[in-house]
Symmetry: C3
């Protein structure tokens, strides 16, 4: 079980409750009232735990598991250990995630405004919010209901945050609208000036950045990530997109819905990322480029041109993944040839 020093567990829950919560189907309706007290991986689960089998690689572990219950695709029912109660689903990992959220709720339930928080008189704070110590909230800031704002975070003038959103410690937000159910981890900086200069031998003149950052509902943004505001148009992070740690997003970038952007990736100004695109870690994308919906970019890809929807690219400069692998192999052969010539 999770370290009680850091995690507070809810429950136990009956299998009927969990089946309903996850939309899965109990293999034995007579087990509806059976209670489980925690989630656990297949190999460490005991009879009071519920586990899951998603990756077929772990079928043997499933066979030998002592878990009391398990989320599993129905076609693996024959391989179940004796006595286990199965919960059938086509998406066991999703069911596990929802169940783990039930045992270990993501929201800290406590509310209240710390005495040391500095809140401008013109700011509006919703009901049931948690505002931690040292938070600084500027004029005309608006925060919805049930939000939490982590210690020493700074919300500058006019920032708007939708209900049920959570901002971590030590963030700074300005010039932005944040949607509902958004999670912003610690040390995130949103809304600063983009990197815009009229360059010139006599000195680079700063171009005022007159746009905003629009973070839509259900977005998650990782620790240390920076999102610059637009130059006049806005920078937009679409609904349900997930951004990892230490990512850089330049001015006017538009990220579609449900995109996934892994750590340390950088996206230069005015580039568009399509819905559901998945960008690996340390990817770099030039400015003014269009990445189609559903595109997958391998980690460390360097992208300088448009990529059509649904394509998988890799390498730097990035090419279709198959070509990238061919290039890698061709280059290795060429080098081996060189080695044999040396010998």
């Amino acid at each position: 079980m999770a370290d009680p020093r850091f995690f507070t567990r809810q429950g136990p829950f009956t299998l009927a409750e969990l089946a309903q919560h996850t939309g899965s189907i109990l293999s034995r309706p007579d087990a509806a009232d059976m209670r489980v007290s925690d989630v656990a991986p297949l190999d460490r689960a005991a009879v009071e735990n519920i586990a899951f089998l998603d990756n077929p690689k772990y079928v043997e572990t499933f066979r030998n598991s002592r878990a009391g219950a398990c989320f599993v695709r129905e076609r693996y029912a024959d391989m179940a250990p004796p006595g286990i109660v199965l919960l059938y689903t086509e998406d066991p990992y999703r069911c596990y995630a929802l169940t783990a959220q039930k045992f270990y709720p993501l929201h800290d339930p406590s509310e209240g405004i710390a005495a040391t928080a500095i809140i401008d008189k013109t700011a509006k704070i919703g009901k049931g919010c948690r505002i931690e110590h040292g938070v600084v909230i500027g004029p005309k800031v608006e925060i919805g209901d049930r939000c939490s704002i982590g210690a020493n975070t700074v919300l500058q003038e006019g920032v708007s945050i939708g209900s049920d959103s959570r901002i971590g410690a030590l963030c700074s937000l300005s010039h932005c609208y944040i949607g509902q159910r958004v999670i912003i981890h610690r040390g995130v900086h949103i809304g600063q000036d983009g990197f815009g200069f009229a360059m010139n031998r006599e000195g680079h003149v700063k171009v005022p950045q007159l746009g905003r950052v629009m973070v839509e509902d259900d977005v998650e943004i990782g620790a240390g990530t920076c999102i610059d505001r637009g130059t006049g148009p806005d920078t937009v992070i679409g609904t349900g997109s997930k951004i990892d740690n230490l990512v850089q997003i330049g001015h006017n970038v538009q990220v579609g819905r449900g995109a996934v952007i892994v750590a340390q990736t950088g996206i230069a100004g005015s580039t568009r990322i399509g819905d559901g695109a998945v960008l690996g870690g340390q990817v770099g994308i030039s400015g003014h480029v269009k990445i189609g919906a559903g595109v997958k970019l391998a980690a460390k890809s360097g992208v300088m041109g448009d990529i059509p929807p649904g394509a998988a690219y890799g390498g730097s400069p990035a090419v279709p993944v198959k070509d990238w692998h061919r290039q890698t192999i061709a280059l290795a052969k060429l080098a081996r040839l060189r080695r044999s010539n040396e010998e």
Copy 2:
């Protein structure tokens, strides 16, 4: 126009004022008293706005623009829409930038020291400064006139900041001298120990880092960027250089004047970057390397040796840009050859 929730507009201004402010020349002296109330892009400008044409790609947009006035090179005068007043200049983008700064001043004019700021008795704060909530200012810190220090920022013992400089929220500065008119965005860390160890199987011994960071006048440093102090010599960022977000600058690095360093680039210890060099995003440069004045490095370049002044390099390991393109094409051909053999 910019969202009034976040931006306070000045003006209106007469065209005579703007021509003088930008050093441009009015096409029709009789329009000197005409007033414009905002900047706007060519395609969205109305008669009360001033726009600019810099990139010839937008000549058609210029032809059809409804802007009241426009910064433009004189040779495009024939293509102007009827009624528009032109302001001639060889650098329209620069004029736009200066005009936008006039409508939307970069400095927050308000001053004052927040009640919750902690300022050591031995610190000296200039006139007209703005010190926000939660700022911590250590002993013997010196801050010039008209500076602003963002909320919850930490200035450690002895830090010196020149006049008219702005430090964002949540920065930490130590062991550094900051020049005049410097802009440091949020979450910047300057002056921490460089990564210096006497490495050894029995343990890596920390080498005290006894130098400083010297940030010269008119430098801008992006959010989340880290600049380590020198080992004994100093780390130096030269006058007018512009550094983007999440950049890493190692100990003893010397950046010349007017250099441009795009996001997520890393420069290892003791490397020198020449005046006016432009480093793309996610560039990595080894330690003890000399990058000449005016060098241009493509994004994601990996540099392990010196580069002569004025050269353009790309790739990893970086080579002259022309060679890089040739390598890219040659490798693509080789892989295609391989594919046809497969078929």
Copy 3:
């Protein structure tokens, strides 16, 4: 000497004290009582300074140095300038580091708890700690003796920190155990949720991250670095490992003992880094990969598979360094061939 604005020098010390402190041997026992007042590089040292010769490249500088004393390997004794006192050692740089630490102690000796620090009643703070302004310490936090916690840092519920550790300004720590003599620089974020989602067209479901971060003794972690907590297993940074600035470490990563990880490197989830491995800057390593003990990875390496102990790899995708160099040369030749064909 170091700028007295930022550094407070101790001493002077006798050569006998320094020989004992560093485990080196005085060439002339009669010089045991000679005092030196500072460290200095060979070329700038005066008679009251102690220098070191490590890299043979600087033998000529050694010959002409005016230093009063010098750490050196005994085999260079013949090349010493007249009058200098030598301290023999096989590791002069290590001796220099230890001596510099003696003149310029790494720990700020002052202790005390700032009036503005917010410390939960259930937290336990050891003896001789320094807690700076604006620090927020949550319930059940435990801090050992002689620790320092930088201004505006946030320690969330249950965090445990061993004795003699130093946490910089503006850090946030949660869900973690920090060992003894650990140094965490500014702006570090430890213990946030890893990037874990059950991905799905209808929306990515957040997977609760139920593990911790274990930072063992004598680790150093650079500014702006992010370390996510484990998913159930823990994320572990082994004893004596040194991590540079802006590094990303994903959930469940296990870093061995004495590893060195240079700036802007990213390690994806569940990867293991062996003891003593050295990772250059901007390296990227995929998830679920094993990097053997003593492996060396060149800067910007992109690693997608296991690497055996002791190997040196480079490139992306990474290959043995010799192969990488062969590939680089082969590709350059191929491109040159192409150029001659063009001409």
